[in-house]
Symmetry: C2
Subunit: 438 residues, 2 copies
Amino acid sequence: MADATTDPQLRSWVEVGAEHPFPIQNLPFGVFSRFSEGGATTPRPGVAIGDLVLDLNLLETMGFFDGPQLRGAKVFSQSTLNAFMAMGRPAWREARKTISELLAANEPRLRDDASLRERALVPMSDARMHLPCEIPDYTDFYSSREHATNVGTMFRGADNALMPNWLHLPVGYHGRSSSIVPSGTEIRRPCGQTKADDAEAPSYGPSRLLDYELEMGFLVGPGTELGEPIPIQRAEEHIFGLVLCNDWSARDIQKWEYVPLGPFNAKNFATTISPWVITLEALEPFRTQGPPQQDPRPLPYLQHDAPAAYDLTLTADLVPESGEGVRCTTTNFKYMYWSMVQQLAHHTVTGCNVRPGDMMASGTISGAKKEERGCLLELTWRGQEPIELPNGEQRKFIQDGDEIRMTGHAQGPGYRIGFGPCDGKILPATPLDDASAR
Amino acid sequence: MADATTDPQLRSWVEVGAEHPFPIQNLPFGVFSRFSEGGATTPRPGVAIGDLVLDLNLLETMGFFDGPQLRGAKVFSQSTLNAFMAMGRPAWREARKTISELLAANEPRLRDDASLRERALVPMSDARMHLPCEIPDYTDFYSSREHATNVGTMFRGADNALMPNWLHLPVGYHGRSSSIVPSGTEIRRPCGQTKADDAEAPSYGPSRLLDYELEMGFLVGPGTELGEPIPIQRAEEHIFGLVLCNDWSARDIQKWEYVPLGPFNAKNFATTISPWVITLEALEPFRTQGPPQQDPRPLPYLQHDAPAAYDLTLTADLVPESGEGVRCTTTNFKYMYWSMVQQLAHHTVTGCNVRPGDMMASGTISGAKKEERGCLLELTWRGQEPIELPNGEQRKFIQDGDEIRMTGHAQGPGYRIGFGPCDGKILPATPLDDASAR
């Protein structure tokens, strides 16, 4: 439930504009180091406030986290958020309350201590963002009905678009966690095996149908033991927060490889996430109903009463190396057919255990309108309807040098809960002969 | 290539019978703690020799590993083998040589020092085995032609048994790493969603078609950077060693969920591995040709000249709670159509990075004969031809209380390179209402 930290009237002594992603109502958690200190050294937890990053490691060392949950826990003296995430909601709320109070307009402890401020607040421009946590396992769902219908139509024809199981369970598959990278990491175009419809045999080379997928990912908080399903009524306790997620996809590799065991090389080369984790606490005011009553009604283990969708506007832009970008997708997380709690309950119904930091992504988020489609495959309908760029160029899929920039936000009265950037630029492929020679 | 440590004439002062899995030619690495010290405390690396475990942590502390690779590296003062695995073949060879020399019949340093022997050699019966390493990512291939053909025939009919891509690339998918457990861990029968062919709607309940899959897994040594494919000629440098692997599978859940994104809940509840890692060094004398020349010839990035299969006899027994067991499967790892180096080259051809400890499993290993089929689905042909137990019972699939025991070994002249146990017993399901109530 919403609490004082989400009050729309709340203001910080750190100046934050009405459309800025990181007002005092947000307080997202991330892990940063300082470019000015060499960049790679001493990653540590922080919270974003306006254009600054609050150094939680320093605050912890100084004893600011002295509530019953966090006193002595030393969870911010680590280079990832996993230990903090493992503690669960009471600890998350306590940390959030402490930070919110410290940054509130009327609170002088940090505001009026120039020396402490200097040390505790780092300019965002000096913050190199890392992954917020180790991600032990990554699962990707396929929970947008519009996306599944569109892709199914293209890959299998309209008659087989939505498989018989799709309306009964949140279809998902295991992804590759090693290649999850934070926003800003350049992505090399993958090489692989593809086969044109009219070719006799497959061939090796750079993917020619490189795509983005606009998704949301949630990060698991407290883990579970093997054999211990998470009942849907308790699933939210295991969700720490959300990140934007670009599940890069090589459509030509995918088409050739994916039957019968699903996408593999088509997606294992990179997944980009936004490095700031937006907590469920910050998103509480934006909880909303998902799509109309699910029909057929899911089995009891997938039923929940409370609204479990979130009203988050999401966008994806394609920006060519030279010239102006174009907004490709404008969609909303609330369109998802299957909710995060349904995904988590289904994932663990077998007794599959989860660990702090596990990421579960939504699958491409598409809406009913054309501009709401969350990937180029759908937007250009497999290349048949190219996207026009301001400079007169066209795009069916992503070209070398193109950057994909994603954003997301919830709109409150006079403030926004934003996700910050989820960007990635595509570098040219280095086919294997060259790579071997390096 | 084979070296002095694999000499069939080599004998240890530790007595090891001719059919024992752990002679001096083997020297598998694992991680153990001592039941007599509380079991869960201080897991540390060890090497199996006969019915004893050599404590590598102690030897390292005492300075036995003083070669150029390992001096000061402290890789055996950790609770997993990841750091050692990351070092690569020169370090692995140096450690193996040191250990082999120390255990050789004519070497007195440890043999004649009763006090040191007492501390450095732990009875296997007192060793609680843990996972040998953290497994950051788990990939499961599908590389037995006989298995893929059998399963494809059952799931999709004989005409669609082997998909068009199967002979061109090692089909694989990402698995769940959180639920990989060492031999001896009891496995709870998973619950989930299934749909009978003649049912109108799916239902929730315990899986009724629980199966084992007899596989081999290899563990990755040195990792790679994102965007850096592993050329097939260098793939072996990244393979530390092999373990037995039981990829438990709920066939009824699998059938309902697997189209279009592959198996998910059907396999995410548990994967059992043998805790001793058999190194490629120990297996070098058993390198052999795989199946006859691959036809069609794979693309160049998947071609290798040297034999890349290994002659390993593998078995799986089903042992009911009361009564004698039955040998279900007797097969051989050399039957695999796609080799480990092909799997690794294909996995990374996109630039997907690997990390030390990643596990890549073969997929079910079946041969041409009926008794060589590596899972019950194939052996009983989906339950149509039940297996007879000595006590008169029949099995179509695994029942509660049944234990599956796997073994593997390479047969040398007068010695065996064995894998040790890969066992798991099935506990009754706890459907969700009960689980929630706990």
